[in-house]
């Protein structure tokens, strides 16, 4: 039986810390709340920013809270501005190793561009929360364990 490599290995590594963020003026928080709860139920530590955050606020929270990844939910159409802006700010603040992924209403043709700008993955409507959790387990590592990333 194959097993997905989980973050909490036999050595008692710390649990993954994930930030779930809503940036910009977009108030659609149904998806963000569902994913935050699903992450929590899956055993991750979750920091939910609440609504109407600027990219600067999200990045500050991510650094202060020492999260391993930032996940953003954007349904406003402003993804092409907000995702790259968060990544740029993380780089400026020396935290480029914090993974960025997200979800929302993002047209297929925008996804490639977002990935080129450094977004690891975009989950579109209809995604099963368990798929997202599996993806996180495979792709996000505690920061301190991989200093070279």
């Amino acid at each position: 039986m194959s097993q997905a490599a989980g973050p909490a290995g036999p050595g008692g590594e710390r649990r993954l810390r994930l930030l779930v963020g809503k940036v910009g003026l977009d108030g659609h928080d149904r998806g963000a709340k569902i994913i935050a709860r699903a992450f929590r139920d899956a055993g991750f530590e979750v920091v939910y920013t609440g609504l109407h955050q600027t990219p600067e606020q999200v990045v500050s929270t991510a650094i202060q809270e020492d999260v391993d990844a930032v996940s953003l939910s954007i349904l406003s159409g402003a993804h092409n501005y907000l995702f790259p802006r968060v990544i740029e700010l993380l780089r400026e603040r020396g935290a480029a190793d914090i993974a960025v992924f997200g979800g929302g209403i993002v047209p297929d043709e925008d996804i490639a561009g977002l990935k080129r700008s450094g977004v690891l993955e975009i989950f579109t409507p209809g995604t099963n929360t368990e798929q997202v959790i599996e993806w996180v387990k495979r792709n996000v590592r505690p920061r301190s364990l991989e200093p070279g990333r």
Binding site: R30, L51, T54, S76, T124, P125, G126, E130
Partner: protein, 561 residues
């Protein structure tokens, strides 16, 4: 005369009899499908409904009445769609005021009978296009309106005395409404003749849609000022559209949508009474806005129960004497949250079912979603199909031929009673918390919705609830769908226009207007006249909204996960 043939068995005398004689042997041979028979909101549905489901107290007179009569379960008009079809009102707004004006003219030309305006997020939040938080969002989800200059373009060549306009705006609703009044003044149209609806429902913002400026209590003051102003000056205007739509989109059940919306409505009525207004002076201008989801009968039951609960509340709880105050009039929009990005043409079928539910539920107006809305803002082609869906229902399907076609159906009446009972139980809990504002401050409706939304998502993830094309009948490769893209040039052009307005306007007239508005906020006099003056002086949405912040404060959400 031949005697009855004793070899033909007589029909069952009761449900129990039928279950024992006819049903039992069949189920023993061929069991029912192993699925949960529940509504999309998870209400259990029985195998069969019959006379036995009507409780001992059930009577047609008290539960149904006749159309146009208390408690309006069967509809608010004596003729319903035989007299006049529902208003087909497609919500539109994107990009610049010029773009949306062109879409309005297109829709009017194609037989639409009312306008419905979608504003962009910065406008909805009371922010101008040049605010830092507006970056990347100008014109994306609706039309950008910063000042009267934009509103003049938005309604260019549309005579405001000949259309009815619905405006989906809440926190800065009073400002946008003043802009509409100012456009009418410029067109030479008396404001008393204006017809339309302002959404202006701030309570559901705290509950679900999350577009706010001030805390709940001062926000209620703006609303009661607007109700008082309109009852004198713009008597045909619907001052609030009390909205369940967004509550449902946020993930509530049908019962929660109904209960929280009606509890919001009761809070507005109470606020009006507390502000010294006579209930029958403003209640006839309150209207509602519901969602219509995929579960046909649950939606019909919800809409029928809504009318009955509201009629009782207005007459018995608030003492309204005018039958128009008892009538729950409503707009319906099909459920955006039910649409799938996968196999988007399937959404045409969903929207048809949802629109049918709205019509069978007796809606006064209807927006049908476009099939591509889970991908982006709708293209013109998709908008046309959505409008045609309504026209087919109205003119081909025959459902508009008779009033309340499902009335008296054992199932629909039982479900209507169930939904009513569950909604009333919620309303009692909210009353016990001290009313809706207190409940919001404690995060009660927010938590109930978050729980329901998570529960539903888990059911979908486990395959207990089906979404065709997503968790069943999915395709490996999705067909490509053409979508509407809003370019960044909209933002740049909007910023240029805003800058031009700011340099060309009469700054001293605006400063005087803002000072008067602030004084009104402090003294308690009606805010609308000084606000209208600020608008005439080309004050922006953000400038006018911020004038009130020192007096009213701003809202910070209690985040409920």
């Amino acid at each position: 005369m031949s005697k009855r043939d004793e070899t033909i068995p007589a029909g069952s005398r009761s449900r129990e009899d039928w279950e024992a004689r006819t049903l039992g042997p069949t189920v023993d041979r061929t069991p029912e499908r192993p699925v949960g028979f529940t509504t999309v909101s998870d209400l259990p549905i029985a195998r069969l409904y019959s006379r036995e489901d009507r409780g001992p107290g059930w009577s047609e007179g008290t539960k149904l009445g006749y159309p146009g009569e208390f408690p309006f379960t069967r509809g608010i008009h004596p003729t319903m769609y035989r007299g006049r079809l529902w208003t087909m009102r497609q919500f539109a707004g994107f990009g610049s005021a010029e773009d949306t004006n062109a879409r309005f003219l297109y829709l009017l030309e194609h037989g639409q009978t009312g306008l419905s305006t979608a504003f962009d997020l910065p406008t909805l939040m009371g922010r101008d296009s040049d605010d830092a938080l507006a970056r990347g969002e100008v014109g994306k989800e609706g039309v950008a309106v910063d000042s009267l200059a934009d509103m003049e373009i938005l309604f260019r060549n549309i005579p405001l005395d000949r259309v009815s306009t619905s405006m989906t705006i809440n926190a800065p609703a009073a400002v946008i409404f003043c802009m509409y009044l100012a456009v009418a003044e410029k067109q030479g149209v008396p404001i008393a003749s204006l017809q339309g609806t302002l959404q202006n429902d701030i309570l559901k913002e705290y509950i679900a849609q999350k577009e706010w400026i001030y805390p709940p209590r001062p926000s209620m003051r703006i609303i009661t000022d607007l109700m008082a102003f309109c009852s004198r000056e713009v008597p045909k205007w619907n001052t609030i559209s009390i909205s369940g739509y967004h509550i449902r989109e946020a993930g509530s059940t049908a019962v929660q949508e109904l209960a929280f919306t009606l509890a919001d409505g009761m809070a507005y009525v109470q606020a009006g009474i507390d502000a010294g207004l006579a209930v029958d002076d403003f209640a006839p201008r309150l209207s509602f806005f519901f969602n219509s989801h995929n579960d046909l009968f649950e939606e019909v039951a919800k809409l029928r129960a809504a009318r009955r609960i509201w009629a009782h509340a207005m007459r018995d709880r608030f003492g309204a004497k005018n039958p128009r105050s008892w009538m729950l009039r409503f707009h319906t929009q099909t459920a955006g949250c039910s649409l799938t990005a996968q196999q988007p043409l399937n959404n045409v079928a969903r929207v048809t079912i949802q629109a049918l539910a709205a019509v069978l539920g007796g809606t006064q107006s209807l927006h049908t979603d476009s099939f591509d809305e889970a991908l982006a803002l709708p293209t013109e082609n998709a908008v046309t199909v959505a409008l045609r869906t309504q026209q087919i229902l109205a003119e081909e399907s025959g459902v508009a031929n008779t009033i309340d076609p499902l009335g008296g159906s054992y199932f629909v009446e039982a479900l209507t009673d169930r939904v009513e009972r569950d909604a009333l139980a919620y309303i009692e809990r909210i009353d016990a918390l001290g009313g809706m504002i207190a409940a919001i401050e404690r995060g009660f409706p927010q938590k109930e919705i978050a729980d329901a939304s998570y529960h539903y998502q888990r059911q979908v993830d486990r395959g207990e609830k089906t979404i065709v094309g997503v968790n069943r009948h999915a395709l490996q490769r999705e067909p490509k769908t053409e979508i509407l893209k809003i370019g960044e040039d909209v933002e740049r052009a909007q910023l240029r226009r805003l800058e031009k307005v700011k340099t060309e306007r009469d700054a001293s007239r605006l400063a005087a207007g803002r000072a008067a508005l602030r004084r009104a906020a402090e003294s308690g006099e009606n805010l609308i006249p000084p606000m209208l003056e600020c608008v005439r002086a080309y004050g922006t949405v953000q400038e006018i909204s911020e004038t009130l912040i020192p007096v009213f404060g701003t809202y910070r959400e209690v985040s409920v996960l």
